[in-house]
């Protein structure tokens, strides 16, 4: 640590972890549960600055300071615990209030810096808050069960039916080749399904949402599912969620026969619908 820096550091070695920003005029969320915060020894509290309030908690700068972070981040258990706490606090707030979520490890070294941020970026923060007012983020994933898809396709697709029959009756090397051709054909049909289904699902869900976007597809080791993910989206939806869920229900029924299963995640803090960077106003 350079000496020029020393003056800015809190003498007690505590910083302010910022989870997100809410409107100060709104009711206060209940955040008094013990052990909720990323640093469980400290309580979650609101720091009110004008019309806005930061959802914060004190953190040890020994644990969350720049020097220590690279090491901490290599510690999967630490990371998982802290990230879960970050999300848990935001979800607690989300039950009662609209919130602009911050990215993990947004840490201020002093209350003064935190307040300065809230004051200086007031307009941009207010605009971000207005955009997500009364809304939550919902995640939607679609997975295809390849076997069920292929079985369904066989009734519609003559080529697949032929190959299935030939692969079934052939022996040895011929059977192997037929099976491979069948696999390739099914793969290209799955790819076609992915392309058409994702367009269809996204546009119909978007019509029931305030905003929406598609996210990167997750590999099976990430999604934890054997079935291939063919769609992944996030939507900014009215907190009642009813219209959106009705449409999702209809989609799920329609796509079930193709071996496609839909999954809903959330409600999430609107991570995907806040500016990624907040410039000084």
């Amino acid at each position: 640590m350079s000496s020029a820096d020393g003056a800015a550091i809190c003498t007690n070695g505590l910083g302010w972890y910022l989870y997100g920003v809410v409107g100060a005029g709104d009711k206060s969320p209940r955040l008094d549960a013990k052990g909720l915060a990323v640093d469980p020894g400290h309580d979650v509290e609101l720091v009110v600055e004008g019309p806005l309030a930061g959802v914060t908690s004190r953190v040890s700068l020994e644990e969350f300071g720049e020097e220590m972070l690279p090491d901490r981040l290599g510690d999967a258990a630490w990371l998982e615990e802290k990230i879960s706490a970050h999300e848990r606090v935001l979800e607690r707030v989300l039950h009662e209030l609209s919130i602009v979520p911050c990215r993990f490890c947004t840490v201020y070294r002093s209350e003064r810096e935190l307040r300065r941020f809230l004051a200086e970026r007031k307009d941009a923060l207010q605009a971000a808050l207005d955009r997500v007012h009364g809304q939550v983020e919902l995640g939607v994933k679609a997975f295809v069960d390849r076997k069920r898809f292929a079985a369904g396709e066989a009734s519609r697709n003559e080529k697949i039916r032929d190959l299935q029959e030939r692969a079934g009756s052939a022996e040895g090397g011929t059977a192997y080749l037929e099976r491979r051709r069948l696999e390739q054909l099914v793969s290209s049909e799955v790819e076609r399904l992915r392309s058409t289904a994702s367009r269809d699902i996204h546009s119909r869900l978007l019509a029931r949402a305030d905003d929406g976007l598609t996210l990167a597809l997750q590999a099976p080791e990430v999604s934890g599912r054997d079935n291939q993910m063919i769609f992944h989206g996030a939507y900014l939806v009215d907190v009642s969620e009813a219209e959106f869920k009705a449409t999702l229900g209809s989609l799920a029924v329609e796509y079930r026969d193709l071996g496609v299963e839909l999954e809903l995640t959330g409600p999430w803090p609107p991570y995907n619908f806040v500016p990624t960077e907040l410039r000084a106003s």
């Binding site: 990215r103 993990f104 490890c105 999430w268 803090p269 991570y271 806040v274 990624t276």
Partner: protein, 106 residues
């Protein structure tokens, strides 16, 4: 809505850690000039933290806006290119390349 529709999609299970990670680490508001990290790649993380030390304003002055470059950073191929850019910037700014950690935005 019929009960059939309600049961037609999965939901309500505890959030997958992967979904939480993707959002908490890669989305949400980023405040330039404050401690901020992209943990998806620890190696890149240290690069970012080194850039952070030069402070966001200085970095902007030097024409680098790494906080907007997450897609570039996380796409994988840019590691060495980024390291090279960082080295050049540090030289240009007269910053030590060894991790002497200080911040200038007091």
């Amino acid at each position: 809505m019929s009960s059939r529709d309600l049961e037609s999609y999965r939901s309500g299970q505890p959030a997958q850690l992967a979904d939480v990670l993707e959002r908490v680490l890669d989305k949400g508001i980023v405040i330039a000039g404050d401690i901020q990290i992209n943990l998806l790649d620890i190696e890149l993380l240290t690069v970012k933290i080194r850039l952070l030390i030069a402070s966001a304003d200085k970095a902007r002055e030097l024409g680098i806006d790494w906080w907007e470059g997450d897609a570039f950073l996380s796409r994988g191929n840019g590691h060495s290119e980024l390291e090279e850019r960082l080295r050049k910037l540090e030289e240009k700014a007269g910053l030590p390349t060894s991790p002497e950690r200080g911040r200038s935005d007091t």
